[in-house]
């Protein structure tokens, strides 16, 4: 349980999500790593170059850490969940509280995770659809509706000349592993309880 929740600390070092943009003239794709504290380019100037390309289709520049409340709240939430998990773990270890708390933490974390994903998707949607009316290129879908540029939440999508890949980063895998460990802790706790 303790290890599982501590794995969440990995989010402060590793990206939660990664979006890569490749195109014929970008044999080395441009990419951004989304951390809980902000967005960074995979290479030093990738953000600047993505913004440079996006200005043709009227997208806003990629937000800096101070431009989005999420980047302030996420670290606090994650920090709190780590602390809570460690406390539950210690108390559980000494038998002060029921193993069911482990599951409780898991459920809470899952809800927060889904909320986070929902928020992330909303941001992608807004970022990809709220376009400058004076955009240099205004493209239409085959059905005549204005083209929008929301990157996929998960997976691959072809957008104009770009191949966009959006996949969880190392941090996300660490959360997943951590959360699984807490489930294991729950079952181990349950077994111990039954034995006792």
């Amino acid at each position: 349980m303790i290890i599982g929740s501590l794995l969440l600390l990995g989010l402060f070092k590793f990206p939660l999500w990664n979006i890569m943009l490749g195109a014929p003239q970008y044999p080395e794709p441009l990419g951004m790593d989304i951390y809980i504290e902000g967005i960074e380019g995979v290479k030093e100037f990738d953000i600047q170059n993505i913004d440079g390309l996006n200005h043709y289709i009227g997208m806003k520049t990629i937000p800096k850490a101070e431009d989005m409340w999420e980047f302030e709240v996420f670290p606090i939430v994650i920090g709190a969940m780590v602390a809570l998990g460690v406390i539950i773990g210690i108390l559980g270890f000494f038998g002060k509280i029921s193993y069911k708390w482990f599951l409780g933490w898991f459920v809470l974390m899952s809800v927060l995770g889904i909320l986070g994903m929902y928020d992330f998707n909303q941001w992608l949607l807004e970022y990809g659809t709220d376009l400058d009316p004076k955009a240099i290129m205004k493209l239409l879908n085959p059905d005549g509706t204005p083209m929008t540029y929301k990157p996929p939440l998960l997976g691959y999508q072809k957008m104009l000349n770009f191949d966009v890949d959006s996949w969880p980063g190392t941090g996300a895998y660490m959360i997943f592993a951590g959360m699984m460990l807490t489930v294991v802790a729950f079952f181990v706790g349950k077994k111990e309880y039954k034995k006792a």
């Binding site: 080395e28 030093e44 100037f45 600047q48 170059n49 440079g52 043709y56 240099i136 290129m137």
Partner: protein, 655 residues
Amino acid sequence: MKKAINILVSLVMVAGLVSCNNGENKKGSKGQGGLATNAAEKVYVAPGEHDEYYAFFSGGYSGNLTVYGLPSGRMFKEIPVFSQFPTSGYGYSEETKPMFNTSFGFVPWDDSHHPDISQTGGKLDGRWIFINGNNTPRIARIDLETFETVEIIELPNSAGNHSSSFITENTEYVVAGTRFSVPVPQRDMPIKDYKGNFKGALSFISVDQETGRMGIKFQLMMPGFNYDLSHPGRDKSHGWFFFTTYNTEEANTLMEVNSSQNDKDFIAAVNWKVIEDYVNNGGGTKMPANYAHNVYDHDTHLATSTMEKEVLTVDPTKVPGAVFFLPTPKSPHGCDVDPTGEYIIGNGKLSADLTVHSFTKMLDAIENKKFDGEAYGIPILKFEDVLAGTVKQPGLGPLHTEFDGKGNAYTTFFISSEVVKWKLGTWEVLDRQPVFYSVGHGMIPGGNSREPFGKYFVAMNKITKDRYLPTGPELEHSAQLFDISGDKMELLLDFPTHGEPHYAAGIRADILKKNSKQFYKLADNKNPYATLSEADARVERKGNEVHIYMTTIRSHFTPDNIEGVKVGDKVFFHITNHEQDFDVPHGFAMIGANNAELLIMPGQTKTLVWEPKQVGVWPFYCTDFCSALHQEMQGYVRVSPANSNMELSWSLGED
């Protein structure tokens, strides 16, 4: 029946023709330089794949250096060195004009001959490549991270800087010898008094191992012969340098006859380590001089020129054990040293045989003082005492020899138009291949080091004639690539080369390509006229000078509307490219500019001067197809009459 016989006869005749043709084809495929059937495969580099070697060809009268890939023969870049280059604005931009400063003023052209790549421990290290300007004696250093010329040093007391620029095996020195001897110091004197009065300066230019910065350590003031070519000793002969000479007759007119009279000229063997010790201990004479030293800085993107006022000269007769003459038949041209450092080859261009001297025998003869007289106080060794061997009757007009590191040598023959492979030590000829036509230098990548990459040999031919589709009287030169990995040389490819490549230097691609820079960081740009943020873009007037601090990013100039410029103004466009991505240069061209365009790499600042002569509204635009909106990347300068009161103003995107 008769008809039937006729048909039969004609069928037989046709069959005969066909078989004759077949016979000729077979002969053709083998005949011309032994072109084997799988040659195409050996030079084919598939789309998107990289070549195995870089090859740097001197441009001769183009003054530049071109970069090719081997084995494909594809050209990647022309690096401007000694010549103005309107393509990038080199030598036209305010930042690069100082590169052409000399004691003769602005000299925007030269004749570039012999490139040589820097070495450490006798192996190519790929830090820099050096090349000589032959006409107005200069040596240039090109940075192999940026493939840009970063330094040019002029050589005083020198003329026809031909036995240059060859480097010692730890890049301690770049060595440059004078082909034409001249009065030192220069003075008004009768030409016919040449003999005994002119001097031949051999310059030893030290190289700072950190920065690559060059400085003339000393000039060895030799007798007034012609110092034709040179090479450093390597491995066992490291510390020595060898120069071929001709015109030991010291003739000053009708040289083709008068300097071809002596049966033997000399190879001058110079022990530079002894001279280095001598000057480090205060030896030598400082003499007044005047020569330019021009340095380009990658952080300021700016060249600066300094006039040096003094040079240290050394009289060879004052340093015992420093210089000896090795008699070598008939006006030797190339002076080549094998990878072990033992053999010194004098390619006597008017001799029927190739002369090879032995370094060991030379040391022995010096130790035992077996001299055969002296010339101007410099001891002459006995030909027989230093001779290692002779390659008998290998061809006509030997010019240069390269080595494969496997004990073989490859000599080019200008007159008999062929390359001859022979064995060091036994002096037997192993193979010969015709070249088309009249080869000058040959090049094996790494051939000037202890460890040649003995896979390919490139012949640089002086005469092209019918090798390609005709393009009128003036033709590019032609190079030919041979596979030398087997016992016999195999011709693989012809490819045209730009200017007149005199020599080339090759290196394995993996040594260089990992270091090649993609773009300059804007944050590191220290150019005094740089504009690091669009908000700082502005126009300033200082008297009749107007300074426009402009930025570029896909796909606009900031500012793009400028008013208040007047006829008679001198307008400086200081343009900073704000892109920070690989291969996104922007160009800048101004209507009626009397110079060239600018091609500005990401993160770089360049300045172009424009002197408007006519009232009007004059456009400028980006010349490099930078983006889908490249055609829109343009702007206007309004030029008012000289007496106008129009105030300066500038803008971008205002309605």
